[in-house]
């Protein structure tokens, strides 16, 4: 005899799930509680307009470990799992704003659009995605910003709080060049130790080994052109000359 299929419904006698499973508190509430729990901490909310709409918490570097520890240990949050840590490179950029200004034109007061440019200096960011395995919610995204892109690329490491961040923080150091103070073993992880560049920075230029490009196009064509010998009277396939057989023997 076949067993009766069990239909699970939320209305039967099972215990109600904890309130935290239904909805995590808002980022504003997290920010307020974290700032209250960690004296002196300063947290900003970075909005992220667009379809993803995942705003994040910009935490100050001085209290980063304490804030992370609060997010991990707070009974209502229990963000016990750091699933992802990565870097972002923000070059120096100018933000254009148009502001309506009242001006007197020909004796009449009018609203005039005035364009202002604001120069935002470049910086590097480390971004962490935190989830709660225990309470099944997340992600809470936290960010830290360096002072600049040249000398002050230092941030506190969160590996003492989230052990899973260890290798990913090494990758951040390897590819973005952010020195993470307090990391137990800060070495390059993907590139070799003698390597000097930080390849994921936006101003990185890869080594030029485009001398042999049989079918170049787009960006590769631009790079391969530097290796072309000028021979303007010819084009097409006749220019591909097989190497001398005697030379290869």
């Amino acid at each position: 005899m076949a067993a009766e299929p069990q239909i699970l419904s939320s209305s039967d006698g099972a215990a109600d799930p904890p309130a935290s499973l239904l909805a995590m508190e808002s980022l504003e509430e997290i920010k307020a509680r974290a700032e209250a729990a960690v004296p002196g901490a300063k947290i900003d909310i970075v909005p992220n307009p667009g379809p993803a709409n995942q705003p994040s918490l910009l935490i100050d570097n001085g209290h980063a470990a304490a804030i992370a520890r609060f997010l991990r240990d707070d009974p209502a949050l229990r963000l016990d799992f750091c699933s992802n840590a990565t870097g972002v490179d923000w070059l120096e950029r100018t933000a254009k704003k148009t502001v309506k200004v009242k001006k007197m034109i020909d004796g009449v007061e009018k609203d005039v659009d005035e364009a202002t440019e604001e120069k935002i200096p470049g910086y590097l960011e480390a971004v962490y995605h935190l989830y709660s395995i225990a309470l099944k919610h997340g992600p809470v995204i936290i960010r830290m910003r360096t002072a600049d892109r040249a000398e002050g690329t230092r941030l506190p490491s969160l590996t003492p709080v989230y052990r899973s961040a260890e290798f990913q923080e090494r990758e951040i150091f390897d590819l973005y060049g952010i020195r993470l103070d307090g990391h137990p073993d800060l070495r390059r992880i993907l590139m070799w130790d003698e390597f000097k560049d930080y390849p994921m920075r936006k101003d990185y230029r890869e080594p030029d080994d485009y001398e042999f490009e049989p079918t170049p196009h787009d960006e590769v064509l631009e790079k391969a052109r530097k290796h072309y010998s000028p021979r303007p009277q010819l084009d097409g396939a006749e220019n591909i000359t097989p190497r001398n057989e005697a030379e290869t023997r």
């Binding site: 390597f195 000097k196 080994d209 072309y228 010998s229 021979r231 084009d235 591909i240 190497r243």
Partner: protein, 208 residues
């Protein structure tokens, strides 16, 4: 020398149970039917290489089933997959540790030219920049049949190699190098980025 024996006489003798051959033929016959590849893989091409060695495609039919975990016992290096710049010195070092005669199959787009990753900062644009390659297999990844085809091409090459004379095989010529310099990890790239003694790409001249 085999060339001096009349083919008709040879087959007639064979029919009578007398097998006439030459040292070169015997030697190459033995070599080409027991090619021991070096057991290592670098990326997804290695999965196809494993499939080639398994029962469905069965590289043992061609005498190549004994994948050796030591370069000192291997005859053939199948460079199966993406060669990163961090891995390239190790590949060259393994090649140098293989005894002569040794052969290289460059398997897949990545091992030939860097493939889809060739614009990346960390991928070597072809293992032929540092070691000589005997057979190239295009594909991403190549099917096991393609690897078997390359294997048969290599057997054909071994069969055609001469033991004596001016055109004798490279491994019998003491002036030919059997080891190649291992590139060093530089501050921005491998140093040198290619070995000019080995890397002879086609000379391409175009309109600028």
């Amino acid at each position: 020398m085999t060339e001096q024996i009349d083919e008709g006489l040879r087959s007639e003798l064979q029919r009578q149970g007398i097998w006439v051959t030459s040292m070169q033929e015997l030697y190459n016959w033995g070599r080409q039917n027991s090619i021991w590849p070096l057991q290592f893989g670098l990326a997804c091409c290695a999965i196809e290489m494993i499939a080639t060695a398994a029962s469905r495609y069965d590289i043992a039919r061609f005498g190549g089933e004994i994948f050796r975990p030591s370069p000192r016992q291997a005859d053939l290096m199948i460079v199966a997959g993406t060669v990163t710049k961090k891995m390239a010195p190790q590949i060259v070092r393994l090649y140098n540790q293989m005894p002569d005669p040794k052969y290289v199959i460059s398997m897949g787009a990545c091992a030939i030219s860097g493939g889809p990753f060739k614009q990346g900062y960390n991928v070597l644009k072809g293992i032929d920049r540092y070691i000589p390659v005997d057979v190239y297999i295009p594909g991403c990844p190549p099917r096991p049949e393609a690897l078997l085809h390359a294997f048969m091409e290599l057997q054909r090459k071994i069969d055609s190699q001469k033991l004596t004379g001016t055109s004798k095989a490279e491994h019998l010529d003491p002036t030919q190098p059997s080891e190649f310099p291992v590139p060093a990890f530089g501050a921005h790239d491998l140093e040198p980025p290619a070995n000019p003694d080995v890397f002879h790409p086609l000379k391409i001249e175009r309109q600028s």
